[in-house]
């Protein structure tokens, strides 16, 4: 196969699966189970190129798209994410009366957008990929059409439009000052004037918006709370992962140092860590707590943008992998807290749930403890590696702020655990087999990575 096909295959596969699932409804009546089955099948097929071509480096469409190991790692992880979202949404969609084919089709289209973000090196392609993802996610947020979901979708769209026009303005400036749309060419060109740097700042703001960096995080809690829970779980990991991979590429061409963005990132990530952790303390809704926790974690990750490529490659990917599994398990648990008409994720509702659902509660607790960064869980190592790398680069103060943030974060994570174990309650929630499977696999992976974290580095090396 020629380079063009290899390079564009993942995007094409994802987009095609989305469209196929959308039209499946036309041919088959009563299509829920079949759509579900095909979605699982497609999300197993999509990462196949990663296994076939791992190690290859290809470019296509006059260098507008490229794939390398980073894209393949992303491809595998995004498939795991979408697989688990598909599995947990099976019963969720039935309870909330969501059309299966729409939901899964949009999920695959969002995936296509993200895969294309990771593969693009061109500002035009990047902009379009961002928008493909954004539109799918706007509709996914509002797919239930009840009051909260519509409100969340509205807020997401209307803030999203502003942030993407700011980003577009940035692209226009970059283009105007350098005359090119290829990021690496622009940067390696070496001609940095004020317009170019301002353009990059505006361009980054759109990314920060999607990444929930303070003060561009403001949509996050509302959208996470209002969106259907499987969708929140998708938002909390998938776009972040894509952006992390994209930024790792930028770090590879020394973007942040050349542009002198260290201080900027320093300030933003410190603000994000503190804001996310502090605002989570008083929340009463589990989805909102997890949203603020996600903001705080964006802060930790964005600190990692300060370290050089070889370290960032290892430790940011480690962090994202651990974060993906932890967040997925937490959200899987939360997504079963619904009573059919609406999400019932208030903190009080999980009182004493540990006695009725010991296994599910245990995995949830494990995920929370790990997110809080307790040793010897994988969440601890993720932070540990990152902090060590930062300290080695001489960023002592930001690390101290981050440690302070983790100490604050323990309070709200443990508040959840306290409700789970130390309170009495009557509410009962049913878990189906798919949810249990997802939780079980997450548990295995979390435990395994806790005792053998080095395996990821071994995998990354070769």
């Amino acid at each position: 196969m020629s380079d063009t096909y290899i390079t564009s295959l993942p995007v094409i596969l994802a987009a095609l699966s989305g469209i196929l699932i959308l039209v499946l409804d036309l041919f088959i009546k009563k299509s829920e189970k079949i759509v579900f089955f095909f979605s699982i099948l497609f999300s197993i097929i999509i990462p196949l190129p990663a296994f076939l071509f791992y190690g290859l480096k290809t470019k296509a469409f006059s260098n507008q798209l490229l794939t390398d190991n980073l894209s393949y790692i992303f491809l595998m992880l995004i498939s795991i994410i979408s697989l688990s979202v598909i599995l947990i949404s099976f019963s969720y969609n039935k309870r909330r009366e969501i059309r299966y084919n729409e939901f899964y089709a949009l999920l695959f289209l969002a995936n296509a957008g993200l895969i294309s973000i990771v593969s693009s090196y061109n500002l035009l392609v990047l902009f379009l990929s961002f928008e493909i993802f954004s539109f799918s996610s706007y509709i996914l947020t509002g797919i239930v059409k009840d009051r909260l979901s519509s409100e969340a979708s509205f807020k997401y769209i209307y803030t999203g439009i502003i942030s993407s026009s700011v980003g577009l303005l940035g692209i226009a400036f970059i283009y105007g000052t350098s005359g090119s749309l290829y990021i690496d060419k622009i940067i390696l060109n070496g001609n940095y004037n004020l317009g170019l740097i301002a353009g990059f700042i505006l361009f980054l703001i759109n990314i920060f918006f999607k990444f929930s960096i303070v003060p561009f995080h403001i949509w996050t809690p509302d959208v996470y709370e209002g969106a259907p829970t499987p969708v929140s779980s998708y938002f909390s990991v998938a776009p972040k992962l894509a952006i992390i991979i994209f930024v790792i590429r930028l770090i590879n061409i020394n973007f942040i140092n050349l542009m002198n963005f260290q201080t900027l990132i320093w300030i933003l990530s410190a603000a994000t860590i503190l804001w996310g952790n502090l605002a989570a303390l008083k929340q009463k809704n589990l989805k909102r707590i997890m949203a603020y926790s996600a903001i705080a974690h964006s802060g930790y990750i964005s600190m990692g943008f300060l370290i050089p490529f070889d370290l960032a490659y290892k430790y940011l990917i480690f962090y994202s992998i651990s974060y993906i599994f932890l967040n997925l398990s937490a959200f899987t648990f939360i997504s079963y807290l619904t009573n059919g008409v609406k999400d019932d994720a208030e903190l009080e509702n999980i009182s004493g749930l540990s006695q009725k659902k010991p296994f599910e509660s245990f995995v949830f607790t494990l995920a929370l403890i790990s997110l809080a960064g307790f040793p010897p869980t994988v969440g601890f190592f993720a932070k540990f590696y990152l902090f060590i790398a930062l300290i080695k680069q001489g960023f002592l103060y930001i690390t101290l702020i981050a440690i302070l943030g983790t100490v604050i974060s323990v309070f709200y994570y443990f508040r959840i655990i306290m409700y789970l174990y130390f309170k009495e309650g009557e509410k009962e929630f049913g878990f189906d087999i798919w949810g249990r499977i997802v939780l079980f696999f997450n548990m295995i992976i979390i435990l395994f990575l806790s005792f053998y974290p080095e395996i990821i580095f071994k995998f990354l090396r070769g």
């Binding site: 807020k155 502090l278 008083k282 190592f381």
Partner: protein
């Protein structure tokens, strides 16, 4: 060696998973058994410990040239700690099978207890500070779970939360200390850290800073000023938990940590001085509070804080082997005191107020005699374990030139004897103040509870003879055994005649304390009640015939009672509780403020984004 760790973990795991299906009989057999096996294994390996072996299991993490292994350190220090932890833990497990017999969450309790033992073993066996931190957090976690074990009680889950919150502050210091060590030493291995400190690779100022940061962690875990406030509340947990976690093992982790890093601390003079001062002041302060408490477990809780203060003090003045010596003897007699108190509470049907007890020795002789031995041991009556260890600490402090601290320590010894015998006399002597119903039910505890008491009493009585005072014998088995782990050997010269006098003095004070307690609570049992009831009563007393007693009470008892109540009311509550709660409140307030900024209005959201844009562009123009 790894098997020492595996059995408690395995048993805990089994109890968590299959706990529902196992009968109480099986649970009460397997849970102590797993600890006993660990104890036997560690006995078996004991002879090899003097060489100091490292059992490397595998490479855990490596960041650049910083490699951290999962490895067990088996040296004199860890071996005595492991023997103590497994031994005491085993006895308490056996005791708990009797004590917790009626509880509906029997298997859950033992699952937590086994898990706790596992983490405690990880803590003491770890060869690197990171692995120690794993154990450190693990025991903390089990401790919160066990304090809040009876979560139906509002106060219990609150106490669990309080312990948790206070320990966060300590852990913040500890974590920063760890990262600083990794930053300067580039290793997490205890040997390398100590060696680097001793050889001067770490500048003295930095070493002091690290020492203080680590010590903040120790004040949280070992309940020292200012972070001790969680320990008295932690008595809400079941009594075996108080005995195991909040007396014998976990709370001494801070002392263990300081001794483990003795190379670092002996270089960091300033940090050591802070440690010593905080330790001795805590010892004194907690002892004064213990005098006025009426809850039998609260007295013991403050007593624990006070005794750990002694250990911290010893570690601060460089008497590391004395600190560990007191740690071990304290583990025996304090576990015994708690278990005895548990036995009393068990018999009294849950009543903990000493004012409602009295003359219990008639009903529970075994508990009484074992409790008495423990009381003698903690007071420092010659011949019992506490005497040797406390005297060694006091003598070391005297000869190392800390005369002021020494005098506070000696005064505390007097208070110790007083409050512990106040407890004994109020509980086991005097009139029977309980109601008829309770009195009817009074009984000696079952065998599973009394046998551990007897074994512990045996050790509390003879445990001190491994290290005799210098004026009796220059060679101490104990010091020679621990000699190897101490990096900067102390050059203290004990002058025998002075040491003898010091010993006589502290023994006399101990006897005096017992005597005062006897006088106030057996001879004239009404007196303390009257004294503690406010000033009008004192006027009445002056008019009455107790002229002599009045002067006496003015000199001795008033300062005790009012002083300690005053400290409690005016210092402890507003200042210490205030600081701890205050930092929590500020955090919560900030949280509230930030979530208020999330108004829900989309216009404000747009403003937030535009503010961000403006901010970043301004930063750019300012050339940041």
């Amino acid at each position: 060696m790894i098997w020492v760790l595996i059995f408690p973990l395995l048993s805990s795991f089994l109890l968590v998973v299959f706990g529902k299906y196992l009968s109480k009989k099986i649970v009460s057999f397997t849970a102590p058994l797993s600890i006993l096996i660990s104890f036997i294994i560690s006995l078996f390996y004991f002879s090899r410990a003097s060489e100091g072996i490292i059992y490397k299991i595998y490479n855990w993490i490596s960041v650049g040239n910083l490699k951290i292994d999962i490895a067990l350190k088996w040296d004199p220090l860890s071996s005595v700690m492991v023997l103590m932890v497994t031994g005491v833990s085993f006895l308490i497990h056996v005791y708990a099978t009797g004590y917790m017999h009626e509880d509906k969450s029997f298997s859950r309790f033992f699952a937590y207890m086994n898990l706790f033992t596992f983490f405690m073993l990880v803590l003491v066996l770890s060869s690197s500070i990171i692995m120690m931190f794993v154990g450190w957090e693990g025991v903390g976690l089990c401790s919160y779970l066990l304090i809040g074990f009876w979560f139906e009680k509002e106060s219990a889950s609150k106490a669990g939360m309080k312990a948790f919150i206070v320990n966060r502050i300590g852990d913040l210091g500890f974590l920063i200390g760890i990262f600083w060590i990794l930053y300067t030493v580039k290793s997490a291995d205890f040997d390398l850290i100590n060696a680097a400190a001793v050889s001067g690779k770490i500048p003295v100022a930095i070493a002091s800073l690290i020492g203080i940061l680590l010590f903040i962690g120790a004040t949280g875990k070992s309940a020292q000023i200012p972070l001790y406030v969680w320990l008295p509340d932690a008595m809400e947990g079941p009594t075996p938990v108080s005995a195991l976690i909040h007396a014998a093992t976990m709370v001494t982790a801070g002392v263990y940590m300081i001794v483990r890093l003795n190379g670092l601390f002996s270089v960091a003079h300033f940090a050591s001085t802070v440690v010593a001062v905080v330790g001795v002041f805590t010892a004194f302060y907690a002892a004064t509070i213990a005098i006025t408490q009426n809850d039998i477990k609260k007295v013991l809780a403050y007593s624990t804080i006070s005794q750990i203060g002694y250990m911290i003090f010893a570690a601060g003045i460089g008497a590391y082997s004395a600190a560990i010596f007191h740690l071990i003897t304290h583990a025996f007699f304090k576990a015994l005191l708690f278990l005895g108190a548990g036995s009393v509470i068990h018999a009294m049907g849950g009543i903990q107020d000493m004012r409602k007890m009295g003359n219990l020795r008639k009903y529970m002789p075994v508990t009484f005699y074992t409790f008495l031995i423990a009381g003698l041991a903690i007071s420092g009556i010659p011949g019992f374990a506490g005497f040797f260890s406390k005297d060694e600490i006091l003598a070391s402090s005297y000869f190392s030139g800390h005369k002021i601290l020494w005098s506070i320590g000696v005064l505390t010894a007097l208070l110790t004897a007083f409050y512990i015998f106040r407890l004994i006399f109020m509980t086991f002597y005097g009139k029977e103040r309980m109601d008829e119903e309770t009195k009817h039910h009074l009984h000696e505890s079952p065998k599973s509870m009394t046998i551990p008491l007897i074994i512990l009493a045996f050790f509390a009585a003879i445990g001190g003879y491994v290290s005799l005072p210098k004026f009796i014998s220059e060679h101490s088995i104990w010091e020679e055994y621990l000699h190897k782990i101490i990096y900067v050997k102390s050059e203290l010269h004990f002058i025998h005649s002075i040491e003898l006098n010091l010993t006589l003095l502290s023994s006399a004070l101990a006897f005096l304390g017992v005597l005062i307690a006897w006088y106030l609570y057996v001879k004239k049992p009404n007196l303390p009640i009257i004294i503690s009831n406010k000033i009008p009563f004192i006027y009445k007393l002056l008019l009455n015939k107790y002229y002599v007693d009045e002067i006496y009470e003015f000199v001795f008892v008033n300062p005790f009672v009012f002083g300690s109540e005053g400290i409690y009311e005016w210092f402890d509550k507003p200042v210490i509780d205030g600081t701890v709660n205050g930092s929590g409140k500020t955090t919560l307030f900030l949280g509230k403020l930030l979530s208020k900024l999330q108004t829900g209005q989309i216009r404000d959201y747009i403003y937030s984004i535009l503010f961000g844009v403006a901010l970043l562009l301004t930063l750019l123009l300012m050339g940041v």
